[in-house]
């Protein structure tokens, strides 16, 4: 074996990755295939929306945390205002995150949203308002997650930059101060 060759990175959290993809895939598959098996709209609606909601929860609370180290939520502060909170792991942990994991995380999010959008277009063309409702709900859940995590990532980057700049500035400050005390 070539000692210079870096080991190929594997998924660091295979179980989490699996769950991340599982509910999304199940919701899409159920929606697409159910027309072949079930005649009842109610079952299709309830099961699809339930799977989509479970997927939303899993992505937001579990795979977001574990695969990319990000989390977002909303709170009401004491003034009664709505506040969005973002949380991210610190710099070293973020750097240590598995690349494959985060690639899977982001691209399955985008793919699922795109798939629901296309399905929505189909049901719009066929003038099926009730199926459009299902697709609308699932799409909005996916989009909400995408937006939340994107904002969280941007916020994390911003914090990083601010932290870096303030560390540099404070170090500069202390060097200048110590220079003056020496003089």
């Amino acid at each position: 074996m070539d000692p210079n060759q870096a080991p190929v990175e594997n998924y660091a959290n295979p179980k989490t990755c699996l769950f991340h993809v599982l509910f999304k895939g199940a919701a899409l598959a159920f929606y697409i295939l159910s027309a072949l098996f079930f005649n009842s709209f109610v079952i299709i609606f309830v099961v699809t929306v339930l799977l989509a909601a479970l997927d939303f929860w899993v992505v937001k609370n579990v795979s977001g945390r574990i695969l990319v180290g990000l989390r977002w939520w909303n709170e009401i502060n004491d003034l009664g205002e709505s506040v969005w909170k973002f949380e991210s792991l610190d710099q070293e942990s973020l750097a240590r995150m598995n690349k494959k994991d985060s690639w899977l995380f982001w691209w399955t999010l985008y793919f699922a949203a795109a798939a629901w959008f296309i399905l929505g277009v189909f049901s719009l063309i066929r003038f099926q308002a009730d199926y459009l409702l299902v697709v609308g709900v699932c799409l909005s859940l996916n989009v909400a997650n995408i937006i939340g995590f994107t904002k969280c990532k941007k916020d994390a980057k911003k914090q990083l930059q601010q932290f870096a700049s303030q560390t540099i500035a404070s170090r500069f400050q202390s060097t200048v101060q110590s220079a003056f005390t020496l003089v």
């Binding site: 989390r71 610190d90 859940l141």
Partner: protein
């Protein structure tokens, strides 16, 4: 630090300088180093994206302990936010408040907590929200505080359950009954919230959706009873009682949110929606 920092869409270096100064002054009155101060007077009416950064995520990504509410109110203009947050409709199922229990300086344990803890936390939240909204308790006098940790899982379950119950009770057109019930309740909640907001009321969009969903619980109970017993008189009595209960549950929150002179304008549509759901329940054969 939970303050609503509406960052305008241009960057200014003023905030960085302020932040550095704060760090040198030992954090000032903020309880965390590196918290982003609103260095420019926040103007909530500006159409900027309200982003609120949590305190420094590098040592700990948690919110500092509760006292900051007084300092945060001092540090920002106290104008209650009249408009809904100009964010896209992020449906926040099971939003986890997470970090209130951790102290300052501890590792970000909402990020590293086991999954089961998250599940338990969300389940407990649903139950506590339900108890706060539907059952009599002292917090009802302060509605803003009562549904502070809103979540949408409870309302989701209740709406789906009501739709399923109605659909089950219907002998024909089950799918349409379900779709109509779901669409009516979901759209109704959104429209009612918009109604309050347009009347100049101060309510958070998702909090109100969450509230209206939780207030469906009595109607769920009524629908189940009506499904089991098919007597018309009994149905009418049950529906009337549960309708009154739902309206009573929703009343303090809605009325507190608007100008007292417009209370009736805000409450009447809520009552109307519940009445129409009640009719659906009675009429289902």
């Amino acid at each position: 630090m939970s303050h609503n920092d509406t960052i305008p869409l241009y960057q200014s270096s003023q905030s960085d300088i302020d932040e550095i100064e704060n760090m040198m002054n030992g954090g000032g009155f903020q309880s965390g180093p590196g918290t982003v101060l609103p260095a420019r007077p926040p103007s909530p009416t500006r159409p900027s994206i309200p982003v609120s950064s949590s305190s420094s995520p590098f040592v700990q990504s948690n919110l500092p302990p509760p006292p900051p509410s007084s300092s945060s109110s001092a540090s920002q203009k106290v104008t209650p936010v009249p408009a809904p947050p100009s964010l896209p409709p992020s449906v926040n199922f099971g939003s986890s408040e997470g970090s209130k229990t951790t102290g300052f300086g501890s590792p970000p344990n909402t990020l590293t907590e086991p999954v089961w803890d998250t599940v338990k936390r969300d389940l407990c939240r649903i139950v506590s929200n339900l108890k706060l909204v539907v059952f009599p308790n002292p917090n009802r006098e302060d509605p803003g505080k009562a549904l502070r940790d809103w979540d949408l899982w409870g309302p989701f379950f209740f709406i789906v359950f009501l739709g399923l119950t109605l659909s089950w009770s219907a002998s024909v057109k089950k799918s349409e009954v379900f779709a109509v019930a779901f669409a009516l309740l979901a759209a109704g909640a959104v429209i009612l919230t918009l109604n309050v907001l347009l009347l100049g009321g101060h309510i958070i969009f998702f909090q109100s959706l969450s509230l209206l969903g939780y207030c469906l619980f009595p109607l769920d109970v009524g629908a189940v009873i009506c499904m089991l017993k098919d007597n018309v008189i009994l149905k009418m009595i049950v529906v009337t009682v549960t309708l009154a209960w739902s309206s009573w549950a929703a009343y303090p929150f809605m009325s507190a949110a608007v100008n007292p002179r417009r209370k009736a304008l805000a409450l009447y549509p809520v009552f109307l929606m519940y009445v129409s759901v009640g009719f659906l329940i009675i009429a289902i054969d």
